[in-house]
């Protein structure tokens, strides 16, 4: 029997004490909370700019074109990235029953990564960008990322090498694939020739550059926002539910098919482009197949809760996890649908894609992150300052997501249909582009509202965790997450 899954180690249990590095866990914990606020604030701001253009503030540094990459980098690499590192440094030590390979490397990784984020925040508003989505950072920062990543990889594999348990639990495979694949993607997509300290030109050109970028870009989604988060799901969901993972065999099939299929899917970002037809066809076919492993993984997560559903109603951590996994299922249903050529013909370029992105980003990544923070807080600090706020956060976030994605679907369908409307006379029915833009304004405001609610929830969380860490507030013994696992 798979001991470390079925029997979550409890504080002060009889298991032989391992001197885990808790400092690094706390550091990544703090960074996750801080960057969540920064990244989401930037998101709400760009959302406002589309609803009300004066929010560009008429200066170069805060226009949409410069702030949007700041948003995407901050939420993906700073918020989601630190969430993943938090989860890995916490769970890996426990799964392998050993301290990390080297504290010095852990510290280097932590501080190196935070410096990279600060460097991003200091370059993107000044327009220093490579213009490739999610690979905007300029070449000196790219080199720094590569160095920090290698250090992380050494620490990661070093820890595997010195592990005290023989078996590598499924979460570790997902982490491993993340560590290795992100390195490959990052290096290949960023090969470029510097012409100054802040500018470089990629060695690829035209459609080749486009395919390399979307091979990267899609797999940034796959191997930064999906694979490691699935690893987190496989660790934290069974832990929080105090049940074994539903099926070990399914997790094996899930892992290998997901990793093998995902890497092919990039061309679904280039359907109906000048990319050769065979590449478009292959990319679309693999994207559609991806629904199988994605839903396999989702079901493995949800079915882990069988027999524990009554707990979901009362345990806010499980609530966050269940909603996260459900949105994962939704995004990975929508994605394959959007890879069907005619559907993509309608959805592409529209706000529908933005809605799809955020059902994954807000629902899956955001809620997994929040759930893990709330799961860990009582384990790190012994309690949570304001348990009732967790519930409020959950509902603010959930309603925020729904407002966000429903408004973006509506906006996407509206503009998609209006762009393509051709009358009986063979002429465009809406030749004036701005008249279509006009129709989206209400949807942009609703999205702004949804995003703002989501942000308010995150602020409540940050405040709550701050009080928790500071030792303020009133300890509440009834908080389910703080209850010792049986």
């Amino acid at each position: 029997m798979n001991v470390h899954v079925t029997q979550p180690e409890t504080q002060g249990s009889a298991a032989p004490a391992v001197d885990y590095d808790e400092k690094i866990v706390k550091q990544f914990f703090t960074a996750t909370v801080v960057w969540a606020l920064v990244g989401m604030l930037a998101g709400v701001w760009v959302a406002l700019q589309l609803a009300w253009w004066p929010a560009n503030l008429d200066n170069p540094y805060t226009t949409f074109g410069r702030l949007r990459p700041l948003h995407t980098n901050a939420v993906i690499f700073a918020f989601a990235g630190n969430t993943v590192f938090l989860g890995i440094y916490h769970s890996m030590q426990r799964l392998l029953k050993t301290r990390m390979f080297s504290d010095a490397l852990s510290q280097f990784h932590f501080w190196g990564w935070q410096l990279i984020i600060v460097a991003a925040a200091l370059t993107l508003p000044f327009g220093h960008t490579q213009s490739k989505e999610y690979a905007e950072l300029i070449w000196p920062i790219d080199i720094a990322i590569a160095v920090v990543w290698v250090v992380f990889a050494i620490n990661f594999f070093g820890t595997i090498a010195i592990r005290k348990v023989k078996h590598l639990y499924v979460a570790i495979w997902f982490y491993m694939s993340f560590v290795l694949t992100v390195a490959v993607l990052h290096i290949v997509n960023n090969l470029s020739l510097p012409v100054s300290f802040t500018k470089s030109y990629p060695i690829y050109s035209g459609m080749t550059d486009a395919l390399v970028q979307w091979w990267y870009g899609h797999n940034a989604v796959a191997f930064f926002l999906t694979t490691p988060f699935l690893g987190l799901m496989y660790y934290y969901l069974p832990k929080a539910a105090n049940r074994p993972v539903f099926s070990y065999r399914l997790s094996i099939i899930h892992f290998w098919s997901l990793v093998f299929l995902y890497i092919w899917a990039g061309p679904h970002h280039l359907l109906y482009s000048a990319l050769p037809d065979w590449a478009q066809t292959v990319g679309a076919a693999f994207s559609i197949m991806l629904i199988a492993p994605s839903w396999g993984g989702m079901l493995n997560g949800l079915l882990t809760l069988r027999g524990a559903w009554d707990r979901v109603r009362t345990d806010p951590v499980l609530k966050f996890f269940v909603v996260a996994v459900s949105f994962y299922g939704m995004a990975t249903f929508e994605g394959p649908m959007m890879s069907i050529r005619p559907v993509n013909g309608l959805a592409h370029f529209t706000n529908w894609v933005v809605g799809h992105v955020h059902s994954g980003a807000l629902g899956w990544n955001g809620f997994m992150g929040f759930g893990i923070l709330y799961f860990l807080a009582p384990r790190i600090f012994g309690r949570i300052a304001k348990p009732s706020w967790v519930e409020t956060h959950f509902w603010l976030g959930t309603i925020g997501i729904v407002l966000y994605i429903v408004s973006m679907w509506s906006a996407g369908l509206t503009e998609g249909l209006m762009w393509r409307a051709v009358g009986e006379d063979g002429l465009l029915q809406y030749p004036n582009f701005v008249s279509i833009v006009d129709r989206l304004n209400l949807f942009y405001w609703i999205r702004f509202l949804g995003g703002a609610m989501y942000l308010v929830g995150a602020v409540m969380m940050a405040w709550n965790l701050w009080l928790t860490a500071r030792g303020g507030g009133s300890p509440d013994a009834e908080l389910p997450v703080a209850a010792p696992a049986k």
Partner: protein, 241 residues
Amino acid sequence: MNTNKAANPPDWHRRLIENKGGLMAVLSVAAIAVGSLVELVPMFTLEFEPREIEHVTPYTPLEVAGRDIYIREGCYLCHSQWVRPFRSETLRYGEWSRASEYAYDQPFQLGSRRIGPDLHRVGGKYNDAWHYEHMKDPRSTSPGSIMPPYKWLYDASWSGDDIDASVAGLITLGQPFPQEQAGNPQAHAFKQAKAISEGLKEFDIEVSADKEIVALIAYLQRLGQDSKAMAEARAAAEGGE
């Protein structure tokens, strides 16, 4: 208790694979290598349609500077340069986009959003004065626009030295700049910019040639010109037959 058999893994593959960190690492890289190699390698040997590529030339030094501004300002986050082969798109924008047109796009600028209209065919659609007014205050030419104003492009100057460095880099990457541009890129850029600022005088617009807005206009007016040349050649070939 746990009645689910699948949660008790058969031992053989654990012994064989999942207990071996090194092997897992090799296999998971192999799993991603297959798709990557199959999709990417053929792209490096891609050949352009000869009758198209002969009409495509690298951007001029000034256009390179304008393109760098386009990238810096993140215009690609609101504008695509990718007309799809649909009737509604060719009606709205013009010829659909061909692979050869992008030959000298480093980095590519296809974009993934259309918060504003596609720009791949915008060259020649408006005159320079329109762009000059539009970039300063988009609502002056397009009431209801949500595009931000770009007033700083009218104060800042492009740098000749940057242009030299950029063109040198692009030549290293294999772009075939004609000799009159490669020899002294910034002088060529200045000449082209001068012509634009002279042209703007006819609209009572006084702008010195070294302003960033001039470079950006040069770039915008270039977009789609190669496609036009291709289309004219196609038409001529058909007419001649």
